[in-house]
């Protein structure tokens, strides 16, 4: 959803740019920008996408914001206007605070490692050869497995004592670990699953990005006597900036919008140690009959997602300038 909004915004900027070019080619800017032909055409192109975005994205967002100021107590007949009381209740809820904290740990602990690993895979597998293609597909494989199925599989990997992981760790002399049943470990177990699942996906973007970098840059760098590290630092990384920014946004959004594994593996337990914000919203809306709290938490997380999206579009635009 957020990604759609980003795309739309980018498209609008581009259209404006095109429109400006069109009018600049003409003799004079006679009309106000909004009425000129290029602009109307641009809006017409945008209309279908915009219509659906308004219907299914912007309108629900406004509705959710509006609803967050009301409370319909479960079983009661009337909806009451409570101003910011839902927000007060939300921040007074220890479970919400725990979920936010968990989500932060989860974000930092999955986004950075999976991007770094994905980038590492990409670096070593950029050049095509039959062997490398094969490895690439293997590394990409976890992406093809739906998260629900992956979580169901990993339950057996994490099984204490007789699970795959403990079975092989035992051969190394490491005692069995309660991967999902120990409140101090469970969140990290989910993070490992997430990194496993996503690194290959990000690798794909990086490979595409790397293949877009011209060989001449590296030749030039070699002539200047740059070593491997210097090439990476001063050629690859800057030229890869748009890709990295994009992957970073995708990864961050993933963190807030995917909780299938929480539902399948832990139900947010033990003791709320694996509860994430989206699962907290789900629980309050459907299990705890506290729709108002769920709505309010939704408003906050949408705001965070919007902030992430707009912030990173800026960086992405900067990246695009760099490319041209």
């Amino acid at each position: 959803m957020m990604v759609d909004a980003c795309h739309l915004w980018l498209a609008m900027r581009k259209v404006k740019y095109m429109a400006d070019n069109v009018t600049a080619r003409g003799k004079k800017r006679l009309l106000k920008p909004f009425y000129n032909a290029g602009y109307i055409k641009a809006w017409l192109y945008l209309a279908p996408a915009l219509l659906f975005l308004i219907l299914f994205t912007y309108y629900p967002m406004v509705q959710v914001l509006w609803d967050s100021f009301f409370l319909k107590e479960y079983g009661a007949e009337k909806k009451l206007f409570v101003a910011f009381d839902n927000y007060r209740r939300l921040f007074a809820d220890e479970d919400f605070i725990t979920a936010v904290k968990n989500n932060l740990i989860y974000a930092i602990g999955t986004v950075i490692p999976s991007i770094v690993i994905g980038f590492g895979f990409a670096l070593s597998l950029t050049q095509s050869s039959r062997f490398k293609n094969c490895i690439r597909s293997l590394l990409f494989f976890p992406t093809l497995v739906p998260l629900v199925a992956a979580a169901a599989l990993w339950i057996f990997i994490y099984f204490p004592g007789i699970g795959l992981l403990d079975y092989y760790l035992a051969k190394l002399g490491i005692q069995s670990t309660d991967w999902l049943g120990d409140p101090d470990i469970a969140l990290y177990s989910l993070m490992i699953l997430t990194i496993w699942k996503n690194a290959g996906f990000y690798m794909l973007f990086f490979i595409a990005g790397l293949q877009g970098i011209g060989e001449e840059y590296y030749e030039a760098a070699s002539l200047e006597g740059a070593g491997w590290w210097q090439k990476l630092r001063y050629v690859t990384l800057p030229l890869l900036a748009p890709t990295s920014a994009f992957v970073f946004v995708i990864a961050l959004i993933h963190v807030f919008t995917h909780v299938d594994h929480v539902i399948v593996m832990t139900l947010g337990g033990p003791m709320g140690s694996t509860n994430l914000v989206l699962y907290y919203i789900y629980q309050n809306a459907h299990e705890f009959n506290d729709l108002a709290k769920a709505t309010t938490a939704t408003v906050l997380s949408v705001m965070v997602l919007l902030a992430i999206s707009f912030f990173s579009i800026r960086t992405m635009e900067r990246g695009i300038h760099y490319e041209s």
Binding site: Y74, G75, A76, G161, I162, D178, G181, D182, G272, N289
Partner: protein, 447 residues
């Protein structure tokens, strides 16, 4: 010649087409069965889902007035969510099989039809109708004295033991531990260790959120407690001696005696460990009986949940409800289907297939059922325990109110906190959640 041919063609084809159309209308008229939707969950996917579809097919074939479209809707929780969503969208299913402790939520939102409404039409009284159902089931099906649901599949927690381990440890497998003291004695003898590491535990219990409270309610009841107010939705008894005692017993089993692991084991893990011989005893639902019967590669036996001051277990399971907001015809069709599905014969066959016990006493008077019970002694034990069964916790905002005590149990099990620390906190959180209900329904001075 050509035009004549065309006319001839028309004169021939037209009547034929007309006849076909009339026939089609006629046929569809005569089989214009009332189509109704039925949502059902299963706790174990696969075989139970297929069996349910089979029963529905049988009903559809048997008569021409009603066509039931059965939809498998996932777990108990998911079924509740899907049914509520369908109601909000203005297209409720006609019938749903609903977790017994969620019934009152549909009543509070005025979404389901009281069963009295249908009983009146067939000139039955509620008490006559209910008298065939086990007494422990009445409370969960009734809200404020009115019957809203018909029990369909029910279960209680039950103790499963590995008979081979018992014999090997010098214990009598025909006499599973009857009370808490015997449980501790047996448990200690059954543990196996390799150095510091426990390779076999005495007992395992399901500790994940949606299962932990149910088994724990059984221990509270065994300890003489109530757990919640069965007559009033706004009260739970967490900060009581009986609840503290039950939780202290959990703590002792784990941290004092080492009989149970200090881990949040989920039910799948518990049964797998039982089958793998990594635990000698487990307490799970009687609904798991068929699964154990199929998968245990050793001799097993079952027993009552061990008692402290009395025997006591909560009843779990699901009941049939009929929704409001459907047409009169659909409602009649729904009642016809529900009456058929909850007749003694169908309840009996579902029970034999699934391992749940049949909610009607008369199911057990049928010859097939008598034969089955004689063959399966474990099913008979489960049935015997029913006389001590009480209703499943069900309060205002059931799942939310259950969470604080679930968290408390998990904190004690993992050794993060003590009983004294968690109990008052659980009560405080639950009371906070129950406040709106008490404000609206209870007579409290000065509030």
């Amino acid at each position: 010649m050509k035009s004549f041919n065309r006319i001839k063609k028309i004169t021939i084809t037209l009547p034929i087409a007309a006849i076909i159309v009339i026939l089609m209308i006629g046929v569809s008229w005569s089989v214009a069965a009332e189509k109704i939707n039925f949502y059902f969950p299963t706790s174990v996917q696969g075989p139970l889902t297929r069996e349910m579809q089979k029963m529905v097919k049988q009903y559809n074939k048997m008569q021409n007035d009603v066509k039931v479209v059965a939809t498998f809707t996932g777990s108990y929780e998911e079924t509740k969510i899907k049914a509520s969503a369908a109601v909000k969208a203005g297209r409720p299913p006609a019938v749903a099989l609903m977790s017994a402790n969620f019934i009152h939520e549909f009543v509070a939102e005025d979404q389901i039809e009281p069963i009295e409404f249908f009983l009146k039409e067939s000139k039955q009284t509620t008490s006559d109708f209910l008298s065939d159902f086990w007494p422990g089931l009445h409370a969960n099906a009734t809200v404020n004295g009115k019957l809203y649901a018909i029990p369909f599949q029910n279960s209680t927690p039950i103790l499963y033991i590995n008979a081979d381990h018992f014999r090997e440890a010098g214990l009598d497998p025909d006499n599973p531990p009857k009370n808490w003291e015997e449980l501790v004695v047996a448990g200690k003898k059954l543990i196996r260790k390799e150095g510091e590491k426990t390779t076999r535990y005495g007992l395992m219990l399901p500790m994940q959120y949606n299962y932990v409270n149910w088994v724990f309610q059984g221990f509270v009841m065994s300890n003489g407690g109530q757990y919640y107010n069965t007559h009033y939705l706004g009260e739970v008894y967490y900060d009581t001696s009986t609840t503290r005692g039950a939780l202290q017993f959990y703590s002792d089993l784990i941290h004092k005696h080492g009989i149970m692991p200090a881990s949040i084991t989920n039910s799948k893990q518990v049964s797998t460990d039982f089958f793998a011989g990594r635990t000698s005893m487990m307490i799970l639902s009687t609904g798991t009986l068929s699964h154990v019967r199929k998968n245990a590669q050793f001799n097993y036996n079952v027993g009552f949940v061990p008692s402290k001051v009395r025997n006591g277990v909560p009843i779990g399971g699901a009941s049939m409800i009929i929704f409001k907001g459907i047409t009169e015809k659909e409602r009649d069709a729904a009642w016809d289907f529900v009456s058929w599905l909850t007749a003694p014969e169908q309840l009996g066959s579902w029970s034999r297939f699934s391992g749940y016990f049949a909610p009607r006493k008369s199911s057990y008077e049928m010859p097939v059922m008598k034969e089955f019970m004689a063959k399966n002694k474990d099913a008979a034990v489960a049935l015997d325990q029913l006389q001590y069964a009480g209703p499943w916790y069900s309060t205002f905002k059931t799942v939310a109110v259950a969470k604080p005590i679930g968290d408390a149990i998990q904190a004690v099990v993992t050794g993060k906190k003590t009983v004294e620390e968690v109990i008052p906190e659980a009560q405080r959180k639950a009371d906070e959640l129950l406040k709106p209900y008490n404000a609206a329904h209870s007579y409290i001075q000065g509030q």
